[in-house]
Amino acid sequence: MADVMTPSRSERAQLLLITALALAVILVTVALLLNAAIFTENVATRDTTADGPEAIELRGELVSGIGELIEQQNRQGQDGSDIADSVESGIDEIGPMVDRERASGGTVATLSHDPNDDEMGHLLGWTDESAAFDAIDNETVVEGLSDARAFELNLTAMASLSDPNASQIENEAFGVRFVTAGDNVTQYIYEDNETVVIANATENTDPRSRCTVNESGPTIVDLTGDELRTDDEIRQCYRGLWPDDDPESIAFINGADTEGTFTLTVDEAASANPSEDSSLQVDDAIYSVTVDIGYQSRDLTFETTARVAPGEPR
């Protein structure tokens, strides 16, 4: 009879082999379980509001699209009611489209618009780019202002000053003056050694250079967007071009040497001041529309009311 208490050498080797195999299987199982646990945890703890960014993106996309629709419609030179009807027609078409687009992704998106919430306004445009701005020199371009947006000058010629002092800038550089409840703010725009300079002055301070861009063809001065643009460069001016206090009126000064075009959208109560012989054109426009945007997915219900007024100062 075999001695079970003192196993032979071959039995000992078998035991070792089996133990080693069992250990290998255990390690593999542990590794697989660990990996499965990590993956399960990852899946389980993924952002439950993953649709949040999509809802915000939808809002931004609709505000952008409707803003473009408003701007395009305002440029058609129609009267106010026709513009409002056209914008309403456009938004009515966009609504079901958004719903169809999102339905394919398993979400519901809605867009609704009440025309009664539309704010009418005026689109001011200086269209003759060869006419100097002195036709409204030292005159108020618009007054009684509550809201203004999308104020953009496209300058093809301006006063050239070489390293000017404060009085030279004030007397010779073209200026856009914002009359506010506080200090009046003037943005002087001139060319200095192939650089377009914007210098900021208030009633109590001398002009100080605020933003510059290398001259290259026409210069676009986006006063509400705080930006200077040329064909080659875009320069952000970071809240430097629009006054902190809301302007009550806007005037141009020293416009004799400055040529180009500009557009500005103002609220309905504002009074533009086109003189008989100036190139300033005043058309009806929509200042803003308000839309309700909804987004609903399995995990998220998002509703918001957005006021669309493209180019409104930050």
């Binding site: 990852n42 629709l69 914008v87 456009g90 078409e93």
Partner: protein, 208 residues
């Protein structure tokens, strides 16, 4: 005569056993590590991160292109006579080797292709199906690099076209001009306003 299984022999055997056991343990460990190796293409936490990164990258590229206008310019880079995108090979309406045809494709080339990420681009637009008297969506392919893998991700961005938008290719006509309107893939959806159509640009990306 010495006994056959002395105490010295037993010690040697234990040492050898210990070595063998250690070898087996290490082999098992190595096997276990190989068995659970996480590759970029395996379904794992790591792969999920890569998918998230790719989705974020594609989404950011679309957002940037939308902001600077190059996305719309690429969607309008259409050849009216050829009935396809400009600079596509003869007989094709889409790009297979997308690169520097437009600023948008150039940015995709520099950002995705150089990281060995392939992509397809499809544009979905709205049409009115007269037969069933229902609006619906159709699609046109801009770029097709191949069949996406199982780990492909998508990102999309919707842009709005106006009637005053112009094609950006050689034709340079306004969308509502008869020549443009007859050939351009997306129809004018609202004649009563400046609104033209909405285009959903969808990128599908996957690792090559």
């Amino acid at each position: 005569m010495r006994p056959t299984s002395s105490t010295d022999d037993r010690g040697q055997a234990h040492t050898v056993e210990a070595f063998i056991a250690a070898l087996l343990l290490i082999s098992g460990l190595l096997f276990a590590m190989q068995a659970t190796a996480v590759t970029p293409l395996s379904a794992s936490t790591s792969n999920q991160h890569i998918e998230n990164q790719q989705r974020a990258l594609a989404g950011d590229l679309l957002s940037t292109a939308d902001e600077d206008g190059t996305l719309k310019a690429a969607a309008l880079y259409w050849n009216t006579s050829g009935g396809g995108f400009e600079e596509t090979p003869d007989g094709e309406t889409f790009y297979q080797n997308a690169g520097s045809q437009t600023a948008f494709l150039d940015s995709l080339q520099r950002t995705l292709s150089e990281r060995r990420i392939a992509y397809n681009i499809v544009i979905r637009y709205h049409v009115y199906n007269e037969e069933v008297d229902q609006p619906e969506q159709e699609r046109v392919t801009m770029v097709r690099m191949g069949q996406p893998s199982d780990n492909a991700v998508t990102a999309s961005r919707t842009i709005t076209l106006s009637e005053t938008d112009r094609l950006t290719g050689e034709d340079d006509c306004q969308l509502t001009d008869s020549d443009c309107a007859a050939s351009f893939y997306a129809p004018n959806f609202d004649a009563d306003s400046q609104f033209y159509n909405r285009l959903e640009v969808r990128i599908t990306t996957w690792r090559m």
